[in-house]
């Protein structure tokens, strides 16, 4: 029988938040345990010490299926405040209070919707990043990792001497008039 994917929920410590802002938390946690970096999800839209933006602040999600000591290794680290999900003696795994893959993706999708929704051909203005202040037209919509890593748009900027395609996240664009 195929096991349903679920995610163990952990609350991050201030140090963990700091590392998340710098985009280093996944690497740090993965090196502390035998959990693959791909199975650790930090809901951060963009990292960078000053412009870091969290989708869900204060929590991280670790894919279930690893031995429980791997999760305890993380929970005891200085990056994690506490583990929200709990140990289940019947299954001998951290399986209580976990969140299903479907629910997590829905939750993330809802968070991304706060950034607005645009379709191909829409005229938009870039409101964040290097091209802030420029206007363009949506060319494609990109969903990475089934939406967990966010919605991105490729925007065509038509200049006098060039046509430039830039990729921006959903929170970096706004309606044409801002």
């Amino acid at each position: 029988m195929r096991r349903t994917v679920s995610w163990v929920v952990m609350q991050t410590s201030p140090k963990g938040e700091e590392e998340a802002k710098l985009g280093l938390l996944v690497k740090r946690l993965s090196s502390l345990s035998n959990i693959s970096a791909q199975d650790i999800y930090v809901p951060i839209l963009r990292s960078g010490s000053t412009k870091a933006t969290f989708l869900i602040e204060g929590y991280i999600f670790v894919k279930s299926g690893y031995p429980s000591n791997s999760y305890w290794d993380l929970a005891r680290s200085l990056y994690i405040e506490k583990m929200i999900s709990q140990y289940d003696s019947v299954s001998d795994m951290i399986s209580q209070g976990t969140i299903s893959d479907k629910d997590l993706k829905e939750m993330i999708s809802e968070a991304y919707k706060l950034g607005g929704s645009y379709k191909v051909g829409d005229s938009v203005g870039i409101i964040e990043g290097d091209f802030k202040g420029c206007s363009g037209v949506v060319q494609t919509i990109i969903q990475e990792n089934e939406g967990l890593n966010g919605g991105f748009y490729t925007i065509l900027l038509t200049l006098r001497s060039a046509e430039v395609i830039v990729t921006v996240d959903v929170f970096s664009i706004g309606d044409h008039n801002g």
């Binding site: 290097d130 200049l159 006098r160 001497s161 060039a162 046509e163 430039v164």
Partner: protein
């Protein structure tokens, strides 16, 4: 070296702090000045106009411009400054249409080649380009132009035309347009 450090080293007089940003609220006078600059963007090359528009008016970093136009950041810095200098001079030269200039000059000058030289230098700021078109040496074109400028200085009704052509004469190197036709670049960032 980190591109941001390079940018800091090379940016000075034209750094963003000296210009109103795209989102900053600006007063009416500044709006008029900006609008006047935008109106004259067509007088410089499309690449230079884009550089001024993106970097000076919108605040796009020089490093990002480097990726678009294929130049290093210091090179972008130099080109932006040159474009600003060019635009500053062009803003002081009144706009005349080719027909207006030809008709006005023909009322006072009889030599058609003299008129053509003045019109071509007003339009292209290039003696070699004018020389090619009228089929004379560059030296001859220069001689004609300077002689015409002297004559223009004595005609009160043409003081505006004289001022325009004199500014062109003083800034020939800066104002010379590239004759190379550039196709529109397509860039994926």
């Amino acid at each position: 070296m980190d591109s941001h450090i390079m940018e800091r080293i090379f940016s000075n007089a034209h750094s963003l702090s000296n210009y109103p940003s795209y989102h900053k609220e600006i007063d009416e006078e500044m709006t008029q000045r900006l609008s006047s600059v935008v109106d004259h963007m067509g007088r410089i090359s499309p690449i230079e106009a884009d550089m001024i528009d993106l970097h000076i008016l919108k605040g796009v970093p020089q490093s990002a411009l480097g990726k678009i136009f294929g130049y290093t950041q210091p090179n972008i810095h130099y080109r932006v400054n040159r474009a600003i200098d060019r635009l500053k001079v062009l803003l002081t030269i009144p706009l005349f249409s080719e027909i207006f200039l030809e008709e006005t000059l023909s009322r006072y000058f009889s030599d058609k080649k003299d008129i053509k030289v003045m019109v071509l230098l007003y339009l292209y700021s290039s003696q070699s380009h004018a020389a090619r078109i009228i089929g004379e040496s560059q030296g001859k074109v220069r001689y004609r132009f300077l002689r015409c400028l002297n004559s223009l200085a004595k005609i009160e009704e043409l003081s505006e035309v004289h001022q325009a052509l004199n500014t062109v004469n003083l800034n020939l190197t800066l104002l010379r347009k590239s004759e190379k036709k550039e196709s529109k670049r397509k860039v994926l960032l």
